[in-house]
Symmetry: C2
Subunit: 367 residues, 2 copies
């Protein structure tokens, strides 16, 4: 008996005994995107083996689930997509794979959804090492397990050398929104409190370090992580969270501007309350960057009713992804005739300045 060949027999549906296909090529070539045998081998070797679930392994062109199982978790379906083009592929604290799963999980979680299923579509530049793909797939699966989601359907395209930069990953995701939750950028109300779950700008700074645009010895790592566990803990103590969004490209400043504009309120930040790591702050000063605009990949901004703020903060600080949670500002009404949708910062030196939306490009290909 050959113990290297795993055979799984489903009742009533005997499968052919076949050793798992293995890609012998060191690098991806155009045949791996052809739709033929080479593509199937690459998918089985790299993705099916890493993501390890029967829905994907069936290699149908779509994943199918019982609606009744979804309805048991809530009353609304959430659907989102993101492409990841980060450069470099690997950076301190993560890689394009950890990013692709965390980012899409977080986009589902911030509307109050329990993330359930993800897709994975890759565009590969001819010549990419197959081992790079294997590492990225392993990262994706590690975060998927941490977040409790399954990667159930996918697509593989290969383009000629010079027609893409190594690897782009798209993940779409579906989840089910909890019954008692109603979160929207339009829900901020005067008197509400603005909370973040920890240090700002770590991801943006880590990418700068990885690109060697910044010669720093400091230990700066991306904060890339799934936030659905933290958000579930917050919603458990306060289903009435008004606004919630992860602060990725454009940073916390952009999220707050979107909340202020959509809710037609003014948001006042307290500069002394912003949680910043010393090396990130230092890097920003050297480069003339504002940490409020730096990308995060494991940070959320929440707007909650003032009477629930302490409970939410306590719940957040009890979770590994929320230990440094802090109140950073408050929501105010707009005076009659005053400009709506502004974000204003009370500075360390007692002045105040307007925190506008990001204009122009701060860092390309940050995620």
């Amino acid at each position: 008996m050959n113990d290297r060949v795993a055979v799984s027999i489903e009742p009533g549906e005997p499968r052919r005994v076949r050793p798992p296909r293995r890609v012998n090529d060191v690098a991806v070539n155009l045949a791996h995107g052809s739709g033929g045998r080479a593509m199937r081998d690459l998918i089985e070797d790299v993705f099916v083996s890493a993501f390890d679930n029967p829905t994907l392994a069936a290699l149908e062109d779509q994943a199918v689930f019982a609606l009744a199982d979804l309805a048991a978790r809530g009353d609304r379906l959430a659907f989102t997509t993101d492409s990841y083009v980060v450069d470099p592929l690997f950076f301190p604290g993560g890689d394009i794979g950890t990013l692709a799963v965390s980012g899409t999980v977080n986009d589902l979680a911030v509307c109050g959804a329990t993330p359930l299923y993800l897709s994975c579509a890759v565009v590969i530049e001819e010549g990419l090492a197959v081992d790079v793909l294997r590492r990225v797939a392993a990262s994706m699966q590690r975060i998927a397990l941490e977040a409790g989601v399954a990667i159930v359907t996918g697509d593989t395209k290969v383009v000629e050398r010079g027609c893409a930069d190594k690897l782009f990953v798209n993940t779409a995701g579906i989840g089910v929104v909890r019954r008692d939750v109603s979160i929207s950028a339009r829900n901020a109300r005067p008197g509400d409190v603005v909370i973040v779950n920890g240090f700002l700008g770590d991801h943006g700074a880590a990418i700068l370090v990885a690109r060697q645009q910044l010669a720093l010895d400091a230990d700066i790592k991306s904060d890339c992580c799934p936030l659905n566990g933290l958000i579930a803990a917050m919603l458990d103590v306060c289903p009435r969270i008004h606004c919630l969004r992860d602060a990725t490209r454009g940073g916390v400043a952009t999220v707050l501007n979107e909340f202020a504009q959509s809710s037609r309120v003014r948001i006042r930040l307290d500069e002394t309350a912003l949680p910043l790591r010393e090396p990130v702050q230092g890097a920003c000063e050297i480069l003339g960057l504002d940490p409020l605009y730096l990308a995060n990949e494991g940070k959320l901004v929440a707007v909650v009713p003032a009477d629930a703020a302490q409970q939410v903060l306590t719940a957040m600080r009890a979770h590994p992804a929320g230990r440094e949670a802090a109140v950073i500002g408050t929501v105010e009404a707009c005076d009659e005739g005053a400009e709506e949708g502004l974000v204003v910062m009370q500075t360390t030196f007692g002045g105040q300045r307007i925190v506008d939306m990001l204009v122009g490009e701060q860092l390309p290909r940050i995620c």
Copy 2:
């Protein structure tokens, strides 16, 4: 009163009166992928205005739907994704936009799902003309309307010049599977009949012509189109369709090999029955290509019980996407000890040959 400014007031939720934002740049630059104001303007100008639905227009990071509305259409959810990297972006009979919507609609429809919602994630090369994006978005919306789906969520990334080839589009899709349907590549049974809905290889040949790899005056157009209407008509007369797949990369030959292997049967094709346009056949002969492996973007392969074949054919021929539907083969049992999963073709000259899976790359970036 300024009649160029459209104001939509929802009951109880007055919106700010704001002229629609318009991108003034001729070409996309890195700021359009920054997460800031330039990105928002591009999204509003190009995508929100083209796709024209309130879910997308809310610009939340995810689309949300009532599960009850989905459950009214069936009992299972289908979820799929595909990236499109076709070169050139525009070709006779379609473009990357028509492809991106048709392809994902078809991947949902072939499992018996009614396609409902699509995402649209673009990776844009810096320097792409904004007007090219507008044309692609318009094509996507035209096919979405034809197929009865809405594009409800999206993502925009921009990479530096030379780091992508003009434009890649990913669409993920969700649909609901009809209650009475059970389609799988494993369901082919001896005695079943193999049907296609029309001429083979048109898309692959059209891309060759568009790349000017083939100097032909012949009028060859891509067959790119959504097949969900045709498939609904087929399922109405025969909910018991055994296997169904669209024959894209790898062509009809690859789909049949997947059916034969998954169902552990042999499939016998009749070469004289293959529907081929004269110019496509001519082009294949000149270039040494086999039309059975050429990509299609509006062709399906169905395996149906013999007693339902005539009904299915009649229903197909009554639909614009199935006028040239034809029986091209039959399913046979494997003799004891014989190799499983083979596709065999009875040739025009009375011989027979094995039609294997595509090995190697026939045409890169066909979709």
